[in-house]
Symmetry: C2
Subunit: 77 residues, 2 copies
């Protein structure tokens, strides 16, 4: 994969981080996944190592938890 994936859950912290990341990397370099509308991808994110949102998984699999919006336990609620 050549895109990073930005996982979030629509929280204010997430939205702010999303703007920062997209400004930084460019919209075409980031796939944005909102768990609210895409619950099926929660397990994919957990397998990648995502512990909280917002998080960015880079093309080489590095997981960057950016600021802190909510834990994955909250996301699964």
């Amino acid at each position: 994969m050549d895109k990073s994936i930005f996982y979030h859950a629509g929280c204010p912290v997430c939205v702010s981080a999303e703007h920062g990341i997209i400004n930084l990397l460019g919209e075409d370099k980031v796939e944005v996944v909102h768990f609210g509308s895409n619950k099926s991808r929660i397990s994919e994110a957990e397998n990648a190592g995502v512990k909280s949102v917002p998080a960015l998984v880079t093309p080489n699999g590095n997981v960057l938890h950016i600021n802190f919006g909510a834990s994955m336990a909250n996301v699964k609620g």
Copy 2:
């Protein structure tokens, strides 16, 4: 400024995040500041809104705290 600034304190979490960020953005787009060798820049980082390290301050002033290595209180020791 057109570069992002990555502030860190040499902790393992910092080093791992540094690699991720540099892979992602490119070495020429990131200034790396290590507080251990650059204590004079702690106040600059705090003024920018950095609360913990590692953190990335983007060219437009967005502060992204990436994972969690240490609080600024720990950094100032």
